[in-house]
Amino acid sequence: MKQIESRHWIFGGLFVIVIITMVLNINLEVRVTPETDRFYACLDSLPAGATVIVSFDHEASSLPEIRPLALAVLRHAFSRDLKLVGTALLAEGTAVGYRLMTQTADEYGKTYGEDYVYLGFKPQYIAAILSMGESIPDTYPEDYLGQPYRDYEMLVDVENYDDIAAVISIADGSLTTHWIEYGASRYNIRIVAAVTAAMMTTYDPYLASGQLYAMFGGLRGATEYEQLIGIGGSGKRGMLAQSAAHVYVMVLIIAGNIIYFRTRRRKGSAS
């Protein structure tokens, strides 16, 4: 009974801390890390009018982390006048990606079909990545809205990865690995990724080897990116709650260890 009570106190404490930090408006500065800077520089260096694939390779569960990342990247891309081609390798990311793209496009006055097109979902991600390397119109004969691929003027010259400047994979799992293994190694397309914090270490070896050109992630990454593009978003707000939760967890770890060592010492002196 005592153990259940302590757990409930811990849950309650976390709940209260997150609520308080979400209500308060504290301005915490974040240092922009070199990896986020590299991602930013990569998009920033692309010429206006270059076609970029944005792949929404995530599920709905990770939206609180993915949405600020995606919005920051899309805002940067639209502000640089890049032509965006949206895809999704997971079914759940399809609707989310479409909403995010149209929402951001509206902010920048971009027109569907001229500045961006959303191709939608294709099952079997490895097959989709490989077949897009051969022919994007054959892989997606129609876009998400059911219009023929060939009807869009911005896609007339886009046949395969040779006509794409980069692929931005917005992922919460290992799908970026497939972009690297099949897109980058087979077709030499430049892959950049915006991923959840938990997945960042997974991609570190690919980033270090250069197979993944640039990567940033997590709410911290989103906050850094928002700082770089000069537009505040939900990343900063979420980061505040996350930082408070991290401090809370650290305090719990330290408290747990103090209790553990005191109990051990007491047991040792008793015997």
Partner: protein, 207 residues
């Protein structure tokens, strides 16, 4: 005899796809595209159908037996209603399908995901103890990582975030590389064993 045919088909397609991956010949690329775009998608659709039928069969069996009946019924209603909504009203814009997706599925999944934070908090208090030297090292690395993924730059000395970056860039990366190389070699070996017929467990066991 059936096993022999399956092995031959496996060898033929395994070797063909392996060769197609490296070939730049137009015929090979065309064949590759056909296999990737058409046949793989058809196989995927059939596997999806098999999965759905298996789920319905299993859930229906549980409902009849009375195991977790309310939850199973909700599962079946969910499985059945989404395709029906999509077929009748489509999946775009403000369709009922999208309403269900945005206001039922997304909040439910986000809630389950958010619950993890509560369990992590509880587990960190009760289980994350420096019982041994390796456990203490792990604990220190965890605290450094938590610090580095927070916006506490003005409060915490720069040394801690630099130390966290070092941990991520060196010991963590080395371990990750070893695991990835191991997975790669393991996948390669298993694939070759399957293609060459040495590994036959996928055929349903040895007799």
């Amino acid at each position: 005899m059936n096993r022999r045919i399956a092995q031959i088909v496996c060898f033929a397609f395994g070797a063909l796809l392996f060769a197609l991956y490296f070939s730049q010949h137009p015929a090979a690329r065309k064949l590759n595209a056909t296999v990737m775009i058409d046949y793989w998608q058809i196989i995927f659709a059939i596997t999806l159908l098999v999965g759905v039928l298996g789920f319905v069969r299993m859930t229906w069996g549980s409902i009849r037996k009375g195991d977790d009946r309310p939850y199973r019924i909700v599962s079946l209603i969910g499985l059945g209603s989404m395709p029906v909504l999509a077929i009748i009203w489509g999946i775009r814009g403000d369709s009922p399908f999208m309403w269900m997706f945005e206001y039922v599925l997304v909040p439910m999944q986000s809630t389950v995901f958010a619950l993890l934070a509560f369990f992590v908090a509880s587990a960190s208090f009760r289980g994350f103890r420096a019982r041994s030297a390796p456990a203490a090292v792990l604990l220190a690395a965890a605290i450094l990582t938590l610090l580095s993924r927070s916006s506490l730059e003005g409060i915490v000395p720069q040394f801690f975030t630099e130390a966290a970056d070092w941990v991520r860039g060196n010991p963590s990366m080395a371990a990750r590389r070893a695991i990835l190389i191991g997975i790669g070699l393991g996948s390669l070996t298993t694939s070759l064993r399957v293609i060459l017929g040495i590994e036959r467990t996928w055929l349903g066991g040895e007799k």
